[in-house]
Symmetry: C2
Subunit: 889 residues, 2 copies
Amino acid sequence: MASWVYGFERGRADGAASMSDLLGGKGANLAEMARLGLPVPPGFTITTAVCTWFYANGSSYPNGLIGEVRSGIAGIEAATGRVFGGAERPLLVSVRSGSRASMPGMLDTVLDLGLNDESVEALAREHGDEVFALDSYRRFIQMYADVVLGVDHAVFEEILDDYKDNAGLMYDTDLSGEDLRSIVDTFKRTVREETDSEFPQDPQLQLWGAISAVLNSWMNARAIVYRKLHQIPEDWGTAVNVQAMVFGNMGGESATGVAFTRDPSTGENRLFGEFLLKAQGEDVVSGLRTPQYLTEAARRSAGSELPSLEELMPEAFAEFQMICARLERHFQDMQDVEFTIERGKLWMLQTRTGKRSAEAAMRIAVDMAEEGLISTDMAIQRIDPGSLEQLLHPTLDENAPREVIAVGLPASPGGASGRIVFSAEEAEAVAHEGHPVILVRTETSPEDIHGMHAAKGVLTTRGGMTSHAAVVARGMGKPCVSGAAQLKADPKAGTLTCRGHVLKAGDFITIDGTSGQIMVGVVPMREPEMSDAFVRLMAWADEVRRMKVRANAETPAEVRVARAFGAEGIGLCRTEHMFFDEGRVLAMREMILADNEDGRRAALAKLLPMQRKDFTEIFEIMSGQPVTIRLLDPPFHEFLPKNPEEADAVAKALDIEPERFADRLRALREYNPMLGHRGCRLLISHPEIVEMQIRAIFEAAFIAARSTGAPVNPEIMIPLIVTKGELEYLKARIEETAEAVMAEIGKRLSYQVGTMIELPRACLAAQEIAEVAEFFSFGTNDLTQTTFGISRDDAASFLPGYEAKGILPIDPFQTIDRRGVGELMEIGVLRGRRSRPDIKLGICGEQGGNPGSIAFCEQLKLDYVSCSPFRVPIARLAAAQATLAERGS
Amino acid sequence: MASWVYGFERGRADGAASMSDLLGGKGANLAEMARLGLPVPPGFTITTAVCTWFYANGSSYPNGLIGEVRSGIAGIEAATGRVFGGAERPLLVSVRSGSRASMPGMLDTVLDLGLNDESVEALAREHGDEVFALDSYRRFIQMYADVVLGVDHAVFEEILDDYKDNAGLMYDTDLSGEDLRSIVDTFKRTVREETDSEFPQDPQLQLWGAISAVLNSWMNARAIVYRKLHQIPEDWGTAVNVQAMVFGNMGGESATGVAFTRDPSTGENRLFGEFLLKAQGEDVVSGLRTPQYLTEAARRSAGSELPSLEELMPEAFAEFQMICARLERHFQDMQDVEFTIERGKLWMLQTRTGKRSAEAAMRIAVDMAEEGLISTDMAIQRIDPGSLEQLLHPTLDENAPREVIAVGLPASPGGASGRIVFSAEEAEAVAHEGHPVILVRTETSPEDIHGMHAAKGVLTTRGGMTSHAAVVARGMGKPCVSGAAQLKADPKAGTLTCRGHVLKAGDFITIDGTSGQIMVGVVPMREPEMSDAFVRLMAWADEVRRMKVRANAETPAEVRVARAFGAEGIGLCRTEHMFFDEGRVLAMREMILADNEDGRRAALAKLLPMQRKDFTEIFEIMSGQPVTIRLLDPPFHEFLPKNPEEADAVAKALDIEPERFADRLRALREYNPMLGHRGCRLLISHPEIVEMQIRAIFEAAFIAARSTGAPVNPEIMIPLIVTKGELEYLKARIEETAEAVMAEIGKRLSYQVGTMIELPRACLAAQEIAEVAEFFSFGTNDLTQTTFGISRDDAASFLPGYEAKGILPIDPFQTIDRRGVGELMEIGVLRGRRSRPDIKLGICGEQGGNPGSIAFCEQLKLDYVSCSPFRVPIARLAAAQATLAERGS
């Protein structure tokens, strides 16, 4: 076996599909097809190691390469019975790049190499087709001059166009031999003028020129940019494939085409592709001529009048169909192939795994598993869980034009269009008239919730990924773009301004919560659908996965969505969200503004029935599934209005002097609310809140158990714990009230008390904390914020710059940072289990819905992940993949 | 040796001083004195194990105790030649408590036990002194009835007072035998009436009653409270000491007294104490009679007319003096002793280590070391480093009355009194008139610095321990109380209101920055002084300690103080503090408000000469000592005015439209500034700041090196690093500018680039970070804030409650929390050394000046600690103690 050059011909090959690192994707798969006995033109691949050597050694070639290439050519000559540069039966070759990763269009290619003034005549004679031979020659000159000699190909196109114009001809195919001869002469003269030397006639010279050009193209500007964008290492290098030419432009029985073995948009199991008669490779994608359909069915459904390949060349078509099926079986995946038919004879030029839409990927994986082509485990592993996002939310049509006027934070995924409104009331009113609306606010507050409900999407000019708008919108599954600071909303003037654009209330805008883009007007949308394939795949995933998947949800609507999406419990029910409702926030405020415990108790008594009703409903919907309820977490000031007018209104409603209200507001203000008086700290200061919440939970549990017949075993979760002492103190309060309620009702139920692990110290002190806590739920939002010392709401001013400068390779708020946050979680898990081996462990930070993070949770052997309802399917799939990855299958 | 009872008499003892756990402090030292052959009345100690057994077994006694007590009494009888309850030469005993830790006055005592109607006559006969015998009996009845029988002692005092009034007598000593007989009868009748039984006549019954009473007193309410306050474990228990009575009330040659072997206030080496003639123990401290001085010198200097013991009983005094010297030598410390002289014969009743003032402690330790009584190492270990605080700051007189109207945070230690002023301008004006002022502000800002300079102290009604006021005041060494939220300052009305108190501008207040108290009027102050002893002790400490001590300082004044207090370098020079100066903050603001890099560069060019001048001065003062300069750390908005009027003034001064100013202010606002765009994040966004600062540092280094002749090797420190990437990026910028300046000047200097380690992730990623960083400085303020998720500025609303509820035993902002923060530091040290074994390690958080934390830093083998200038001596001493502790010496 050669060391720098790997040969192949139908029936045998030095390489194989597994060797794509060395041979590049194209070369490896050509070798594989040759081994399978498929009709591949003979050829050889110069390995990527040559490219590496080339760049490491001042653009020179390794010893032995020249000899091996000569042998390679000799092999092709033997296989074809032709002679490279021969005056009879000349051998023409293609020289193509082919790297390990697909880099479409970035690297160079030369076709028809080996033609010169002599061999072109031999070619014409041999095939009795002067037009074909001369057409090939002018193509070769044009391509070679462009790629190897650096003459702009536009020069040649101009000559060709001018000629056709002068001759009154429409298509290239209309050119006669005489025309072409004249064009070839002009081409050659142009080369002489542009490069000060004759177009090279020696095929060996031509070959090495092309090899060198392909290797050099690895370092062209566009390739460097592309690699950076796609994180392709520079040292991978490209291979060079030299292969006998076959001609799709050799008369009427010839064609060239591309195909997907299944529909890449829908995944339907039908051949999908196009071809051109009398054409070479690049013609199909150039768009100059209208391609024809491969199958009759496709032609008919498209209403095309041009005949299909199936009709025109039934035998070649049948063979191609068989080969496609064979390739799918062999590669166990949908293929994207290139082929050429030369005078009725089919040749395969390339095969590779085909790109496809999320929807198609799903259908193909499921169909192939059901066809027995792949295992269900493999089907599960085939799907990028992140791609489900577009299957679950309405998304903007990728192909539709967008007039982007600003970019904010992608706070809640999905796209939405609607009329601009500047208040919740307006949102309700305009929506009531039947118009879609986008609610535009500086920031949202609890008063805006009904407006958010009415709107198709929410846009804020301030606030981060954890702002009120972002959190509530994600819960509702509504698109939201937050913190679009370039925009200036002026509700009084009814205008939204950005860099000269002035939009008015009532104008249409579109937001893309997946990318953060804001666009003028309406951008066409794709509606989500849960296909049969989706349902089947999720069922397989559910069978495989070890971890449970729960949802973060608190309103009955969200809880219902979560259950519908397959959540097996609620991992985080944030009770404070229940207080943001317009009707309730007043009682909450009364509690906060009370002067003393008695006042707080009176207000809490008003909240008790509301909370009890909420919990009852949630328990009923989840009927028997576990529900983890987190006690009140945010600082008091989050419930109070920030602007003076609202503050006055509230003061009036609560019959408090405005001055005292202002005093209280001032007293509650905090420098760093995230690190302030919240979570267990607030509960320890005001145990009467704990009493009310525990009473509501337990009373609701008994009501729901009776109505559903399924016992309810609440999991009560305390936020922001850093010491065992905090948890002990609160657990004692919880037990007191729990016992009191159970005694009043005369029944018992079992329940658990656990804690969020969301601060570094909680991880470090997990052993002591687990002496009291019956479960841990990792709150990776806050844990990431404190481990990094980065406030997510304030990070927009520098984190994007970090990513651009390569300082932080991943966004730790999307994917768990394993070095820091991950190690703390590991410590927490290890120490928690040390004092309580069977402690229940979960995650409820937003990373709980992120596939990379879910894989890490599987490594830690957590019991469950919990995420927003709309990410539940993603988590189910990712958890299954994580189980399979850990199994090593 | 007995198991429950340990006997002692002059010359021999079952116990020893080392056995205070078992025998209590009093019992162990009585045994020790007996062993030394000192005149100790014979007796025995019932061990603390009996007390433990007593409470574990329903107030019963262990087997064998009764027999051992009987043997104990027999031993005393043998030693004294007396008989317990005897009709001739009756033996009287005292029954005293004595626990491991001193609990003064908390537990019970019975004296003169063994007296009854018969033995009192024998006692009178024996000593030929009826008055003495009857006086002892009435004392015994009174005390026993109170302690054992539960009859309020006030009842008896009333009887005695009534009797004296009726008889027209003044003092107890005026009572005749007849008077006392009558009083004894009345006392016994009262006991009968109050308890329904006769006063017990059987000495055995009396003895067990007293033993039981002493044991029971361990659980009386005041003892329980005291133990809780002083963290004395309940299971320690008390011992019971039974000892032959000696009588200070037996006629003219008798006396009883207390003494310190050295002056407990000043530490002077002279006997210090008082005595009363014809008195028993408690009389001296009761204050009913005026005690007399022990020494002639003391009597004379006090101008007392009552004769001294030295004069009255020269022999007993000489023996006492000798014994005191002996005890000091033996116990190697100043002693607090009790003694009685019975008819000219000296008896020692107690010795223990004497309490003393901070000043005295220093002097005694140093004197004793110089006298050869203890080693200098021991002298070092004797001093509580925290006690130096009162030697370095003016402090409020502890004994002066205080009218506390509010309590804020103890933000900067020391006390100060002055007239209330509400603005910096007023502060300067009033101070200029020669009045001391206290600057009262809601919060301070850079504009207030000159007012803070003019004031004696600073009081703010908002802001925490790391607020501007707190940080600046600590740097200045000025007392500050911050966040006194109960106070309401109304500068317009010129009033400061708190719970009814209305103080006006110009009224005097006093603040105590050590406790956080705020008082009306002027409280007397003690001025600090650095005694000879202090200087000598610090010199010894400096010889011993391994770690260097640096200071956190940035103004020339602070740096000078630091050097004077013995700082061996600057560990943290916070460059931003240099921008808070009135003249400079405008240029800083211009930089911040600039629209683009050019604008920022123009403003930075104005700041460059100022920074260069600052650095030059600091390098010159520290001449050759290392200086660590931290690049800009706080977020931009900290430099901008918060209130609208100031904002308008600044906008005008900088010629910016107010609207654009407001926009910029809004854009810079952050939700959680501590976790926001600051530190290295800001420097990465605006590398032109780094350029300016590095240029200033290097130019200054060359200037200072020339003027002082000592080379300057700056240590450049980057704040808030969490990844290696951040540091790499900035180190490259630093090197660029450094090379540029060195090339311009044509000289080179060596410098280091290092990082703060102040976020959990930095500790975890220390190995990678140390590949770039040449030193680490642990910023334990921020590390504690993020590890706990607690903002120090917002913690006042809940942290005090945590301490009260016992949830957090220590304040982690004072002393490093070893469980969490400490473990992260350990990880940081270990990993940092893994990639750079000789990495320089220090600490510059405020805990760097805390003795407990310094001990921990020694365990981690850090190279230095850095703290505020006024804590440098504390750190020097604590570091020496830590070295000794680690040596195990």
